[in-house]
Amino acid sequence: MSQDWGYQWGLPTAASSYASDIDWLMWLLHAVMIFIFVAWGIFFVYCLFRYRARDGERAVYHQAGESASFIPDGLVLAFEIWLILAFGIPLWAAIKQETPPPDESMTVNLVAQQFAWNFQYPGPDGKFGRRNVALVTAENPIGLDPDDPASKDDVVTINNLNVPNGKPTILRMTSKDVIHSFQVTEFRNKQDVVPGLETMLWFEPTVAGKYEIGCAQLCGLGHTKMVGNVFVQSQDEFDGWQKEQLAEKLGTTGTADARTVTPAADSRS
């Protein structure tokens, strides 16, 4: 592991449809921040040098330019208003307030728990089976109700999210216990996963590959180890994977998924 340790700068790979917009904004903001800091710093250092105490020179009592001092305030204000109107509101609306049309995207339920990510796929019928907290066991982590016909073809995976490339995935998220936060840095998005509440996060992957899901909200002793994977596959590969999962589920009895990974459970809390 140690050979990977390094001193990387900047942003990780951008792998979702909106990641490049966020990155552009990030670079813009940082360019402006650096410009302000440097311009300001040059004047600061100049003042320190030019106005250092020297024998026989008195400081200036009357100072003009009070109204001119509002110019930087005004410039910053104008920049910020432009930022909010041009990017802030539209981008936020597109990513967080609106979802892609359901018929052109895939919806997956996420049920987070200490310390695992459980994903529920609706299967070929496109309907999610009912969940019931009373049915939650170690084998049935999301409490899927086997009596609901819609649940028959549902696939449940733990810590592994397979998604098709180039097609939006909508995550409908909730938590069983405490607050978690779903983060995939390459997608430039995250969202808290809150018990008693359904939150939403969508992304459209643009680069096939394996990405890491991290938990971004302190959730207990196993917080660090609450990791999962996103596998971005071509539509064909994804369809094949889903068939395989379904065959496996229907082949075995019960709702247990043979391929699932045991959550990094920590008994202490």
Binding site: G10, Y51, D192, T224
Partner: protein, 591 residues
């Protein structure tokens, strides 16, 4: 003034004789200020030490492949010996990491920087600067200190609670905090006590500032530091009760099994959590941040005030834009109440609310820019003396600048999606509070030390301390921004458990080394503080040739402060007035 002297029999000029009444249970604002000063510095040391342990862990989170438990180095052996269960072989247990993390934040903010900035300097300097013999309510003042002291003890005692100290972060997000071990109950009780102490102080500061000013000390002639303290006190008074209520509700959730923050059908420990449910985890976040955002300005405003005082004195000229500065402080105070939910863009609150809070957050940056602009322009045309307090005050400007600027991508919701809950946030607020506020407060100590103890601190040691503070601080905090930009989340005991963090793990080693250097760099300061008590250069009334009223009384001031009743004739920063005999014209000097 008259009123205070009317009641002088109670506390005005009677010098208490016995040691315990003079130095321990004193009602003198100066003694209380120094009590706060010493206590908060001790807590800062404790909080810093905790972070050193955590930084040790983060620098090398897991044993290397060739790790040999038989051959521990000196530090690992020591850690293994001190905490055999919490830090076996010097590798930190996640539970201990979370405890130290939560306690570092709580101690630094509520027991360290706020008591230092508000209670220590506010108590000591504010009555002197407005020409008052003491605080309006001296006994309440004493009660404030001792309440704070008890609150601090309760918080520290949580380490010995069953299950250890609180471990849900300093933000104590429910429901994790509700199901956490007993230490969290200590945290809540401790916080309620500390908040009560702050409320005592806030009331006292407001009443003192409004009612106890010397003759001629109009509000428009008050030094910026007094304005900063007044605005801070109002913030504390209005924001803290909300957290107090929130903490009491969480306490009820824990001990009386209510469900203010517990939703329906929560599953905990493999079964349905036995509560009625129906509560909201988001409610806690609203109540918490409704305090905790104004709290940021509670940390910051006294620093603004101190920097303004030091800059005016050491540029030998009036501050640029006194009215603009004071106005900005007031606007910051008001706006700080309407930005809290920018901590919650991704919390699951209604997403359209984000637009409102982005807008208010961007707005509050304007008065902050104005403050920095005024302080910067104050240097122009000056005759700058580079003494130790001035170095700290000057360093505050660019350091706070970085803190403020890095707030921009965080307060802006689309970029916050990537940066939220990463080390970028940690880097940002540490730049505001540590190289920002704390550096300014250090400057304040060097500046007012001669007033407090009658001697100056050693300049050479002070400058050594300055450079050994400011350089390592940047090596500690700047890499955090880089790590956060890459997406490394905060609050990870073992960041290398997640492969996306590996490319930026190397910075943690640099941070660890820099933090250790920073720790060592404080030794000259501690030595200087104690050494100068006896051996420092003797200071007269006004060692910096300053204009404000605290320099018009003896150093240190006696009980009751002023030897004659001060009267104020002019504004606070009349330096280098053309035609005046010297380059400073004290506020109380008759024309």
């Amino acid at each position: 003034m008259k009123d205070a002297h009317g009641h002088a029999g109670a506390h005005g000029h009677v010098e208490p004789q016995s040691f315990i009444w003079k130095y321990v249970f004193s009602v003198d604002h100066k003694v209380i200020g120094i009590q706060y000063l010493v206590t908060s510095f001790l807590f800062l040391l404790v909080g810093f030490s905790m972070m050193l342990l955590m930084r040790w862990q983060l620098a090398i989170p897991t044993p290397a492949d060739d790790f040999d438990p038989e051959k521990l180095g000196m530090i690992r052996s020591l850690l293994n010996w001190m905490w055999p269960e919490k830090m076996p072989y010097g590798f930190m247990d996640p539970e201990f990491y979370n405890q130290l993390g939560a306690m570092h934040g709580t101690i630094m903010i509520f027991l360290g920087v706020v008591p230092l900035g508000v209670a220590a300097f506010g108590n000591y300097v504010l009555p002197l600067q407005i020409g008052a013999p003491d605080m309006a309510f001296p006994r309440l003042n004493m009660m404030s200190y001792w309440t704070y002291f008890v609150g601090g003890i309760v918080l520290m005692a949580s380490f010995w609670a069953p299950g250890g100290a609180p471990q849900s972060g300093w933000t104590s997000y429910a429901p994790l905090s509700v199901v956490a071990p007993a230490g969290q109950t200590y945290w809540l009780i401790g916080m309620v006590i500390i908040i009560t102490s702050s409320l005592f102080g806030a009331i006292n500061f407001i009443v003192t500032t409004l009612n106890m000013r010397a003759k001629g000390m109009t509000l428009g002639r008050m030094p910026v530091f007094c304005w900063a303290q007044l605005v801070t006190a109002v913030l504390l008074l209005l924001a803290f009760p909300v957290l107090e209520a929130g903490a009491l509700l969480q306490l009820l959730d824990r001990v009386a099994h209510t469900s203010f923050y517990i939703p329906k059908d929560m599953i905990y420990g493999a079964t349905v959590f036995p509560r009625a449910g129906g509560g909201s985890p988001i409610l806690w976040q609203h109540l918490f941040w409704f305090l905790a955002h104004p709290e940021v300005y509670v940390l910051l405003l006294p620093a603004f005030g101190i920097v303004a005082e030091i800059i005016a004195t050491n540029t030998r000229k009036p501050l640029f834009g006194y009215k603009e500065l004071v106005g900005s402080l007031i606007v910051i105070g008001i706006l700080s109440f309407v930005v809290w939910a920018h901590h919650m863009f991704l919390s699951g609150m209604r997403t359209s609310l984000a637009n409102l809070f982005v807008t208010t957050t961007m707005t509050i940056s304007i008065p902050s820019v104005a403050v920095l602009t005024c302080l910067l322009l104050s240097l122009r045309g000056g005759s700058i003396r580079f003494n130790t307090p001035m170095l700290f005050a000057l360093a505050f400007l660019p350091m706070f600048g970085i803190g403020g600027l890095t707030g921009l991508p965080l307060g802006f919701a689309p970029t916050d999606m990537h940066l939220h809950d990463t080390y970028y946030v940690i880097g940002h607020f540490h730049y505001v509070v540590a190289p920002g506020s704390l550096v300014a407060l250090m400057g304040g100590l060097y500046y007012w030390y001669p007033k407090m103890f009658g001697r100056k601190m050693n300049e050479t040691l002070g400058k050594v301390h300055f450079w050994l503070t400011i350089i390592p601080m940047n090596f500690v905090f700047f890499p955090l921004l880089i790590q956060g930009m890459w997406g490394m989340q905060r609050r990870l005991a073992v960041p290398t458990d997640q492969w996306h963090n590996l490319p930026v793990q190397g910075w943690s080693m640099m941070i660890g080394i820099a933090a250790a250097v920073l720790f060592v760099g404080q030794i000259p300061f501690v030595f200087n503080f104690f050494w100068s008590l006896r051996n420092g250069e003797k200071a007269a009334e006004n060692p910096w040739n300053s204009t404000t009223l605290e320099w018009a009384c003896p150093s240190p001031p006696p009980h009751g402060n002023f030897t004659r009743e001060p009267e104020v004739f002019r504004g606070p920063y009349e330096y280098s007035v053309p035609g005046h005999k010297s380059d400073y014209w004290p506020q109380d000097e008759a024309a």
